[in-house]
């Protein structure tokens, strides 16, 4: 019915103004020279050239490294948890998943802030260690603290994603595998794991993307000197006032993210195809 189709018109205007134009503005700023006004811009590639300074390249590589480690840790911890939850009694599943997902909704700053008083030199852990005459252990302002903070914040996404794919799996397939003589381990390796791969992949996107772009966690747990790509962007806009350079970095980051999403989607497709037999048969 055309009548209802008209309901999208206001949002199309809204969407162009507030979603499309801001994106174009970032591109515009990234390719123009200094001056915080749209009216007086001049075309340039300098902002991108500047990024290839070793200092900035190091920041980018560090961000990717930290995000990759975080993602890896989340898979290693998240998969067993999701697997266990998916295999307990159904009434418990709902409750456990609720408990896993509640932290997702709590303010990220609050969750990260909570770790400061635990990890700091005179924090809860060190107080405890001191009472048994160990330490103090330096944890705040290290890679460890930053990665811990990221795992803490993003692990629920990984568990949720893997759990979803495990829970919707047809139990008959597992039983068929047992029926055909596979033992528990073989069934897990050959059936459950491949079939749950789409969940792992979407978990990877859900963890890697925010991990590579966050600036709160490094700021809180890494300290003022700890630079990841998100902090770099924040600095350009809030402290330095270099909007053009900041836009260029954002654009590069958006590119990296789109590329990694494209790649995970492709892997996802290949895996799904393989899981379904693909064209091998």
């Amino acid at each position: 019915m055309r009548v209802f189709g008209n309901l999208v018109k206001p949002y199309m205007v809204w969407m162009s103004l507030f979603i499309v134009i801001p994106m174009l503005l970032i591109v515009l700023y990234a390719f123009t020279t200094h001056g915080n006004s749209v009216m007086a811009f001049q075309f340039t590639f300098d902002n991108f050239g500047k990024f290839f300074d070793p200092v900035f390249i190091k920041v980018m590589l560090k961000s990717i490294q930290v995000a990759l480690i975080t993602t890896g840790v989340c898979i290693v911890i998240g998969y067993p948890i999701a697997y266990v939850i998916a295999n307990v009694d159904e009434r418990w599943q709902t409750l456990l998943m609720l408990l896993v997902t509640i932290p997702m909704w709590i303010n990220m700053l609050v969750r990260t802030y909570a770790w400061i008083s635990i990890l700091s030199d005179s924090g809860l852990i060190n107080t405890f260690l001191k009472s048994i005459n160990i330490g103090p252990l330096k944890m705040m302002y290290t890679d460890f603290a930053v990665i811990l903070g990221m795992v803490y914040n993003f692990l629920p996404f990984m568990i949720l994603s893997i759990y979803t794919s495990l829970a919707k799996m047809d139990k008959a397939v597992i039983n068929a595998s047992y029926d055909l003589g596979a033992n528990t381990r073989q069934t897990f390796m050959k059936i459950t794991l491949p079939l749950s791969m789409p969940g792992v992949i979407s978990g990877v996107t859900l963890v890697f993307l925010p991990a590579v772009s966050t600036f709160i966690i490094p700021k809180f747990l890494g300290g003022g000197q700890y630079m990841l790509i998100g902090n770099l962007i924040e600095n350009q806009f809030i402290t330095v006032g270099e909007w053009n350079f900041g836009s260029a970095i954002s654009l590069i980051m958006a590119m990296i993210i789109m590329l990694s999403m494209y790649m995970t989607r492709k892997i996802d497709k290949d895996i799904v195809q393989e899981a379904q037999g693909g064209n091998k048969w």
């Binding site: 018109k9 303010n107 600036f215 958006a254």
Partner: protein, 266 residues
């Protein structure tokens, strides 16, 4: 069955471990909000002094006010706009549908910081002074796509002729919306609204970039204050955690209660 017992124990410790990991920091944060001293590590007795301090702090009270005002207004507006748009999308031609859904996905897939600086650049290009209004507009912008995304599957589940059926029986398009479509997608609308509310309530990155002139929401305040140890932040955080947990419990318990009601009716 020693093996099975061991497996049960492993399972138990895995789950208990991860839940401890999730909740211990939050619990310690909440516990020390009631501490009688400034310390966040050693317990000096129960006190509500930090809550008193919180409620006496005008900046904090104003942040709470801003957060609630923006969350309520942006939830209302984005729910109405998002629901109507979703209905429109479900009745549009494929090409329009895909265009909107794809553009709509941008703010969802993009890192928040990119959306934030995009909006910041937009407001400054239009010479709009950053403040409460820009924060509100920004919140509506990032919430609406989520509302649309939550409502659309509910619409897909409807009989494709349901609106036509209402009009066939004499309902005007507006009546068909109110009496048939909206009641049927209400669960989706409600979860969309709750999603919008929690997202706005918790938002930091976007608010941080698009607000100014002393307008701060709770997250911005926590961000600026957290550099020093300050138990009022714990008190504030405790309130946030309680509110969000409460909202989440309602959302998750509602379907259960409804089911019971239905069963009772039969």
């Amino acid at each position: 069955m020693v093996g099975s017992k061991n497996r049960k124990l492993t399972r138990f410790f895995l789950i208990a471990g991860v839940l401890l990991f999730f909740y211990a920091p939050i619990a310690s944060l909440m516990v020390f909000s009631f501490n009688d001293s400034r310390s966040l590590t050693s317990w000096a007795g129960f006190s509500t002094q930090w809550y008193t301090a919180l409620f006496a702090n005008r900046e904090m009270m104003s942040a709470i006010y801003v957060t609630l005002l923006v969350a309520l207004l942006s939830t209302f507006i984005s729910t109405v706009v998002g629901t109507l748009t979703a209905i429109g999308i479900s009745k549009s031609r494929k090409i329009i549908r895909e265009l909107i859904i794809n553009v709509n996905n941008f703010p969802i897939l993009n890192p928040e910081i990119v959306t934030a600086i995009g909006l910041m650049l937009l407001f400054s290009s239009l010479s709009i002074e950053k403040g409460l209004i820009t924060m509100l507009v920004a919140h509506i912008i990032f919430s609406t796509p989520y509302v649309i995304l939550t409502v659309l599957p509910k619409l897909r589940g409807l009989d494709p002729d349901i609106a036509e059926a209402a009009m066939d029986l004499g309902a005007t398009p507006a009546q068909a919306l109110w009496k048939v479509i909206i009641p049927l997608i209400m669960p989706g609308v409600i979860s969309g609204a709750l999603l919008a509310f929690t997202m706005s309530f918790d938002d930091f990155v976007i608010s941080y970039f698009v607000s100014g002139n002393g307008v701060k929401n709770i997250s911005i305040l926590v961000y600026t204050m957290s550099k020093r140890i300050n138990p009022t932040i714990n008190a504030l955080s405790t309130i946030l955690v309680v509110i969000i947990t409460f909202v989440l419990l309602i959302v998750n318990l509602l379907p259960f209660l409804k089911k019971k009601e239905l069963r009772g009716a039969e």
